[in-house]
Symmetry: C2
Subunit: 164 residues, 2 copies
């Protein structure tokens, strides 16, 4: 199995274990190897405060800051793998780059409000949105992978004259 065969992973685990253990199990289950790099990359994503999202470059910067030298090929490959494993979510916030966030199953599905000017991202929860998307997918015979609801606007700080 090559490292590019990771796109069809469908099974999930019932998890109450630590994320490190979860990673180990998932990788094993799919025939992937447990490497220091993958573990450290996931750890970076987990340490991020809720509501913050990291780009591939952000991840590398944080790793570099803590003394880890991991090439960006590895960062990108690991991020994709973790997304395929269902551990991370890839966000398309209409910016030029992609962002990643840890997929906490305990945390309700949340969505994003983005300021088109300064790029600030605010999260909000709404379970109805997710079920709407889910229904829509299933009604058309699709298997659901992800729902992303992104609202773009101008935050109070960037908004034109009126209020600020």
């Amino acid at each position: 199995m090559t490292q590019s065969d990771s796109s069809k992973i469908s099974e999930r685990l019932y998890l109450e274990d630590s994320p490190a253990e979860v990673l180990r199990m998932l990788l094993n289950q799919e025939g992937f190897r447990i490497t220091e790099q993958r573990q450290k990359i996931l750890q970076v994503l987990r340490e991020v405060p809720e509501g913050e999202h990291l780009s591939a470059e952000d991840v590398q910067d944080k790793l570099t800051a803590s003394g880890e030298k991991i090439g960006f090929s590895t960062i990108y490959r690991a991020l994709h793998l973790l997304v395929d494993l269902g551990i991370l979510r890839e966000l398309n916030l209409s910016e030029e780059r992609k962002f990643y966030e840890f997929c906490n199953p305990l945390m309700g599905a949340h969505h994003h409000l983005v300021c088109a000017e300064c790029g600030t991202v605010t999260e909000f929860e709404d379970s109805t949105i997710f079920s709407l998307g889910s229904n829509e997918a299933l009604n058309r015979g699709f298997s659901l992978l992800d729902c992303q609801f992104t609202v773009r606007g101008l935050c109070p700080h960037c908004a034109p004259s009126l209020s600020v």
Copy 2:
């Protein structure tokens, strides 16, 4: 005013005129010039059947096919301008490129169901989603620009074994 000053356009028109006329009015109102290129680029987007989305390259291809030679710098600039004017909507369907669609005010806000495998895009309407996003934005003092709800999954044709 330079052509890169187009990002702060906030006013809209009440329109019952033909799109060509609308374009003319909007451009005039903002101090932009009415050029053949801009008119033809908009026309391409308008001629597309509903539910189809074009990338910048698609637009150029269609223009080339009908004998129009317009440089891609111009295509990109015009697309951005038309988005800023509120005539087009820029879609982030999590693909590598961006897509554009004509913003028909008569047509209800619609959203997209994307097959992660083959990239097929299906549209669906749901007014509640839009009002949810609108409320969320306004409650936080944001002025609303756009709401995009994108559902990703595997279409029946690409889905794993089970049904096909």
